[in-house]
């Protein structure tokens, strides 16, 4: 799975996710990636989210929407919202979440062995990584 979240200079957020699913899936199986609220969500009043991992879990728990809800309605910092979804909602090893809020705060966190990722912002923060 691949995904991206962004904040533009106009203050708008967006999210996108794309995947081949999981090896050996039944033909016709749909995971979280194409489902808004499960693997993808964006709301200028909250945050933009893209997930990767065990899709059925992200669907069951509406992870992308839940992350946004935690930021928008529960006033959680985006990093806390993402970490709570990983620690308190999903199971260890389920995957990862990236998110950016309307102030440009971002989180790229996971509870699996790795998550290849990249980040950049107007302040000059920039990098790519695979492991911790």
């Amino acid at each position: 799975t691949v995904g991206c979240v962004a904040l533009d200079k106009h203050g708008n957020l967006a999210a996108a996710t794309s995947t081949g699913g999981m090896t050996g899936k039944l033909p016709g199986r749909v995971g979280d990636s194409p489902i808004l609220s499960a693997g993808t969500y964006a709301d200028n009043a909250g945050c933009a989210v893209s997930g990767t991992g065990v899709g059925e879990q992200y669907i069951r728990h509406a992870i992308a929407f839940q992350t946004n809800w935690r930021v928008k309605e529960n006033q959680q910092p985006v990093a806390d919202a993402v970490q709570d979804c990983l620690d308190k909602v999903l199971n260890p090893g389920d995957g990862g979440i990236i998110a950016i809020d309307h102030d440009g705060n971002m989180a790229l966190q996971y509870n699996s062995g790795s998550m290849s990722r990249g980040w950049s912002d107007w302040r000059g923060n920039r990098g790519v990584a695979i492991w911790k």
Binding site: V2, V5, A6, D8, A16, G20, L26, W119, V128
Partner: protein
Amino acid sequence: SRWAIALHGGAGFASPDMAPEKVEQFRVALEKALAAGEKVLQSGGTAVDAVQQTVMVLEDAPYFNAGRGAVFNAEAFHQLDASIMDGGNLDGGGVSAVKHVRNPIRAARLVMEKTPHVLLTADDADQFAKTNGLEMVEQGYFYDASSWAEFQQWSEKKNGVAPKAPSYPLNESAAVAEPTDTNFTCG
């Protein structure tokens, strides 16, 4: 003037002892995708354009489980899913189980912008993409030796036998592709 972007290339179980040249391939691909998104945002483009352009780069790279390089399903072919969402108006679109659109994220955006719906699926989603002028490819385009090796291992473990070939014809370049590191399984 604030802008920011983050991307992922999948969560998995990358072995820390993965060959350095393979690690470098991943890093180069991630850098290329990040640069595509940065270019859009730095020039004042929209977040929707930035996430689409970034994901297209990742779909076109064979190292990730999306687009080219996608995993195999139980019947040894590829079915791809994608979605996109605009935080400014909560518009969104997605496609699932497509087999022939080269960049599923482009099809997802078409669903968002050209229909009143949020999700189209399977052959009808492919047909919708084709009708709207998106590039269509044969299944062999998505083949990658690493994904195939992973599927063979999965099939051997589950069924006791590893299939000899995908369920679609392989073109010559795909058939001779060198297997890549199978220790990196993207979610």
